[in-house]
């Protein structure tokens, strides 16, 4: 080969290697979580929650002691969950985010692919494989989306992504498919988005985009000062699909919802004090009923002594009638009767949604609208760090329904109780950091049931529910 050709070949080889090197600079992020917990409870994993009439095993289930024996067996089981997240970062402005989940609802449930979940549970194999032999396909995809800064100060998220409202989760907080843009201009942070929750048109007329459940949102936050941040949001819910009726117990049917929701929120921090809260107003129609509904919240945290005292108050409107104008609050549900929203700031484990619940996820108030009954609740708590590795918390909650309606349980005599008081919860929690990333914790909760549940069991008043959890959690 002539020397000029050799030179050219080497130059090409050198340039190719040099050009190939930057492609090896993709940044890989791996994160995950593993948790296993032992649960002993006469509430979770029993006939009044997980295996109740019409209950959808797998979570978000309402406490339903009506017609059951007043004393239920205590459940003992071990639940396991793992989450894996892989993020592929091409550069500072572009990444693909993926998130997966592997659950065993309880050790010993099924193996070799046999789906042991009761009828009504969606997804064969999901949450299964916890019995001897394992070997079950139970890999779930939670989210896969593109995160890109498409222009200066403009971020786009496209795909199945986690998204929540700006009102402590009382409207929506879930993985949802859509497109969302957010921006940041000095103190102003606006967002705009569209999400397709459901498309059930294949069942009727065999066409997509025909029977859908959609959300359009506008959201904005403004930092008035270092101490005060305010926000406002507009959400338009349009549901014309075969999904869950937000006002009835366990009703999945053709919905016709056009609901506008306008909300304001604020947070003020000064020294040891943090105040926050929101007001939400809804107007629209739900299944041919004109509807006006509202929700109010106030929360406070105050550093006192070695820890922090907390308080929360939540009011959600309810509706007593079945015809005419309604005040029932509308929130997002999926197509199998489970809520895709959740309020956790009250730190309850039985009275409200439990922040430590995984697949087994039951509560007395399981949705914001509470089957059109609404809710009124006051909650107090204290976070007490004991050492650098040991933290504790103590909480109490008091809740009632806002309006009695046909969804209220009936006494074993056939009438309904006059009281709307659901119950009083006390709970305590301790968490110890065993190693970096690995913690062991315990939480005990006990509820004194209110007269809302008096004599609704087949043979008297249900015994007061309790829940005990021993939890191991590794996050990386």
């Amino acid at each position: 080969m002539k020397s000029s050709k050799s030179l050219a070949a080497l130059a090409v080889l050198g340039l190719t290697v040099a050009a190939a090197t930057p492609a090896l600079a993709l940044e890989n992020e791996f994160h995950g979580m593993f948790a296993a917990r032992y649960i002993n409870s006469n509430f979770n994993g029993t006939s009044t929650t997980s295996f109740g009439d019409g209950a959808k095993y797998g979570g978000d289930t309402l406490y339903m002691p009506e017609g059951k024996p007043k004393k239920v067996y205590s459940a003992n089981f071990i639940e396991q969950r793992a989450r894996l997240q892989y993020i592929a970062k091409a550069n500072a402005d572009l990444k693909l985010v993926t998130h997966f989940e592997l659950d065993y609802t309880y050790w010993g449930n099924s193996s070799y692919g046999a789906n042991s979940a009761p009828a009504g549970f969606s997804g064969a194999g999901r949450n299964g494989g916890g019995a001897i032999g394992a070997d079950t396909v139970n890999f779930e995809t939670k989210s896969i989306y593109l995160d890109a800064n498409v222009a200066k100060n403009v971020n786009m998220r496209l795909g199945m992504q986690p998204y929540n409202d700006s009102f402590k989760g009382i409207l929506f907080d879930a993985d949802m498919a859509g497109i969302a843009f957010s921006s940041s201009y000095n103190k102003f942070t606006p967002s705009i988005g569209y999400f397709r929750f459901n498309d059930t048109g294949v069942q009727q007329d065999r066409v997509l985009g025909h029977l859908t459940n959609d959300l359009f949102l506008l959201d904005a936050k403004y930092a008035v000062s270092n101490e005060l941040k305010v926000g406002a949001a507009y959400y338009l819910f349009r549901n014309n699909s075969d999904t869950t009726n937000s006002n009835l117990l366990n009703d999945i049917s053709r919905q016709d919802v056009k609901m506008s929701t306008l909300g304001l929120n604020a947070e003020y921090t000064s020294g040891p004090l943090t105040l926050n809260g929101f007001g939400v107003l809804q107007a629209g129609t739900v299944n041919k009923r004109s509807t006006t509904a509202w929700a109010l919240n106030a929360g406070a945290k105050y550093k006192v002594g070695p820890g922090t005292a907390r308080t929360e108050f939540l009011y959600v409107s309810g509706e007593s009638g079945t015809t005419g104008h309604s005040n029932a609050f509308y929130s997002v549900f999926n197509h199998i009767g489970l809520s895709e929203h959740g309020y956790y700031d009250n730190e309850m484990a039985i009275l409200g949604r439990d922040k430590n619940a995984y697949t087994t996820d039951n509560s007395i108030i399981a949705s914001a609208g509470n089957n059109a009954q609404g809710q009124i609740g006051g909650y107090i708590g204290y976070d007490l760090p004991v050492t650098s590795k040991l933290t504790t918390a103590f909480n109490a909650g008091f809740a009632a329904v806002a309006k009695e309606n046909a969804n209220k349980p009936t006494r074993n005599t056939g009438s309904k109780n006059k009281s709307n008081y659901l119950g009083t919860e006390i709970n305590a929690e301790a968490t110890y950091q065993l190693l970096e990333g690995l913690s062991v914790g315990t939480r005990v909760a006990y509820v004194v049931l209110g007269d809302y549940y008096k004599d609704v069991a087949s043979n008297g008043t249900p015994v007061n529910p309790y829940d005990f959890k021993l939890m191991f959690k590794y996050t990386f």
Binding site: L10, V17, H31, R83, A357, T359, D361
Partner: protein
């Protein structure tokens, strides 16, 4: 001149491919901490706790080290890292 150029280009072509491997090769007579204790591995990635620590440490350096725009970027990274942790620990069957 051409011979020199050929030699330089040859050296470059060969070294670029081996540069990425150099970081993995342990020094002679030194412990391989990556094998022994999973420390100082060339391709290790940060856990979410390490990522949060690093970002907070950088933000703490403040305007002495970073411009206002850079601090804004770091605060955004902190917000994203906290979102990752929240999403990993989110409760419930549906979420």
């Amino acid at each position: 001149m051409k011979k020199v150029l050929i030699a330089v280009l040859t050296t470059f072509a060969l070294s670029a491919g081996t540069m990425v491997l150099a970081a993995d090769a342990p020094q002679a007579n030194a412990k391989d901490e990556c094998l022994l204790a999973s420390k100082n591995c060339a391709n290790e990635v940060d856990s979410i706790q390490q990522k949060l620590k690093k970002i907070k440490a950088e933000i703490k350096k403040g305007k002495k080290v970073y411009s206002a725009e850079e601090l804004k970027k770091l605060n955004q990274k902190l917000k994203e890292a906290n979102e990752i942790l929240n999403n990993l620990e989110k409760p419930g069957a549906g979420r």
